[in-house]
Amino acid sequence: MPETSFSEAVDRALALAMTRDPRVVVLGEDVRLQRRGAFVRFGASRVLDAPISESALLGTALGAAMAGLRPVVEIYFVDFIGVALDQLLNHAAKLEAFTGGRWQAPLVVRAACGGGYGDAGQHQQSLWGLLAGVPGLSVVVPSTPADAAGLLLAAIDGPGPVVFLEHKLLSQQWLDYLGGASREGVQFDVPAAGARGEVGEPPVPVPLGVAALRRQGGDLALVSLGVGVHRCLEAAELLEDEGVWAAVLDLRSVAPLDVQAIVELGRRTGRVLVVDEDYTRGGLSGEVAAVLAEHGVRSAYARVTTEETIPYARALEDAVLPNVERIMAAAHALLVNAPGKRG
């Protein structure tokens, strides 16, 4: 399997979907330049530049999906969903429920998310918990090129609506676009393994709602997604040096959530540490605790999350986002407070 970057993987999956299915169209601000490969290959009728009107755009994508197309609609950053949330919250997410299953919206909303490059709190949010909290919306957050391609394919082919979030730190394309390519001296804490990886040819769809165990380990479970997975893998190596075997579970999709994988791993390790770049009260980290408790898993639990608005200054930003140091500290505390194998 050839090795490609995260962004190339997404591009390839999109091209494949557009080749296979003429109903797939791409809508969004500046997409004719941002997705210029697809624009040149599939032409102006399938790649449409939108005005800066996210509400109208998402509603247009929804209507088009309801009437037979399969739109992939782009919002620059997930942060901007605030101007158009209604289209997801009250329309796309409710269509199937309101029609008793008679009508579906095969729609993918693609947006960049996440922080770690100094754009401050209005452009670096995760918000996957907020979105996944709405019944009827699926939310996926890939951490590897293969998952990025595979989840995008599954999302486009599925019944929708799906929000597909690309973490900017994983996407060289985004980092370049945001100024990384045009200057020296700027350092982004990019996980090496995330940026490149093997992707099948053609890429293989990855079903929504199935977590991936990235690393085995019986002492502690690190549960994460997106860039967090790479931070966890790094932490797990450091822990191994200390003689602690940490498993790393990559949730991959926030909704549907792979409850079974969480419960099993929680049971097996007795200690669960959630590493979630979304806000502490954003929903996902709490949900993992609830899922464990509901299933009677009395494992020890802790979380490393974004506790406040992400500040601009790089040092402050780093301290607020879940970094390896914070994960290590939380893991140590968990091991001390819950010394027995089972809670």
């Binding site: 109208a56 209507g63 009437a67 029609t99």
Partner: protein
């Protein structure tokens, strides 16, 4: 009037009667407590809706607001399934899960929403799909005068114009948004606003079904021919107030008897501290003025679109058509009441 003209008018009048009776059936179901929640009727909008929808066929789609039943009826959606939905029956159009603000039919490509402004974006999407299919289909958005200030609607007007989508935007201008006079809060006025997005605007008397039908025919033809979107600005009355149980309508009747709703306002005139008396009196006058306007509006039978259309038909014909429509609706209503009672 030519015979085809008469035939068309007959068909339109029949549609309008169907709509009117359906709305009255809805009112009945609501008053009896069989339809829950809010209930917004489309009485007064019959000519606008019948005139526009009469131009549509199977290729076309509609995005509707919470006064959606008229358009559904005119589009041929089964009456019984609409009424069943409104009483929450599992056999309703949406299995009882959508209810009267979210009536949808995939088969007919129509969807309603209770969020003000939502029909704009949705119609753009329907229009984009129609254009992609390339069969000349168009999409229609129905919305009110107040909705024109909702950002997503203005965005949709622009997007349709920018992408030259086959969309007909129909603004049903009843001059009110709940208890607010739209003219007071629509900067520049409706006509100028709607005309500012780069598409032709056609202003019609929405009580005159034939004018509406003619304007809509032009707009639909433009869309089918790939010449982009059109706005129809159609004035129409709102005889029942905003929704059943409208607070302004209630206030209006309360004034006469100085009832519970009015007395507290009188008390607010004197309690200290507060604004100077002149300001307070002007506030009371403002409220009173609105209530009076609604009261004056309500019994304006002369502007009833149905009567207008009927006057242009031979009396026997109009009466006959009215009876046909009434029977149809009553049959459906009878079934629905039967079902509702047997479920209860």
């Amino acid at each position: 009037m030519s015979s085809t003209g008469t035939e068309q008018l007959q068909a339109l009048y029949l549609q309008m009667c169907r709509i009117r009776w359906t709305e009255q059936a809805l009112a009945l179901l609501w008053r009896r407590g069989l339809a829950s929640g809010e209930m917004h009727l489309g009485i007064g909008e019959e000519a606008v809706v019948a005139g526009v929808v009469g131009n549509l066929d199977d290729r076309d789609a509609m995005a509707l607001d919470y006064r959606s039943t008229p358009a559904l009826v005119a589009r041929g959606v089964d009456l019984t399934s609409i009424l069943l939905e409104v009483v929450g029956s599992p056999s309703g159009l949406c299995g009882g899960r959508g209810g009267h603000m979210h009536l949808m039919s995939r088969e007919h490509l129509v969807a309603a929403s209770g969020v003000v402004g939502a029909p704009g974006p949705l119609a753009c999407g329907f229009g984009l799909a129609a254009r992609t299919k390339g069969k000349g289909g168009v999409a229609v958005a129905f919305f009110g005068d107040g909705a024109v200030n909702e950002g997503m609607l203005m965005e949709a007007l622009n997007l349709a114009a920018a992408w030259r989508l086959p969309v007909v935007f129909v603004c049903k201008d009843n001059r009110w948004a709940v208890t607010t006079r739209s003219s007071e809060l629509t900067g520049g006025g409706l006509r100028r606003r709607l005309g500012a997005f780069g598409m032709p605007l056609d202003r019609v008397d929405g009580r005159d079904v034939e004018s509406v039908a003619a304007a809509a025919a032009r707009a639909v033809a433009r869309g089918r021919a790939g010449r982009g979107p059109t706005v129809l600005l159609a004035s129409c009355p709102r005889p029942e107030g905003h929704f059943l149980g409208d607070p302004l309508v209630r206030l209006t009747s309360a004034v006469g008897e100085l009832a519970a709703e009015v007395r507290p306002l009188v008390a607010e005139l004197v309690v200290r501290p507060g604004a100077p008396l002149a300001q307070r009196l002007s506030a009371v006058k403002g409220i009173g003025g609105k209530a009076a306007a609604v009261a004056v509006h309500a019994p304006a039978r002369t502007s009833d679109p149905l009567r207008r259309a009927a006057r242009r038909l031979p009396e026997a014909t109009s009466r006959e058509l009215a009876v046909v429509a009434r029977r149809e609706v009553e049959t459906a209503l009878g079934r629905v009441l039967g079902e509702a009672v047997s479920r209860a």
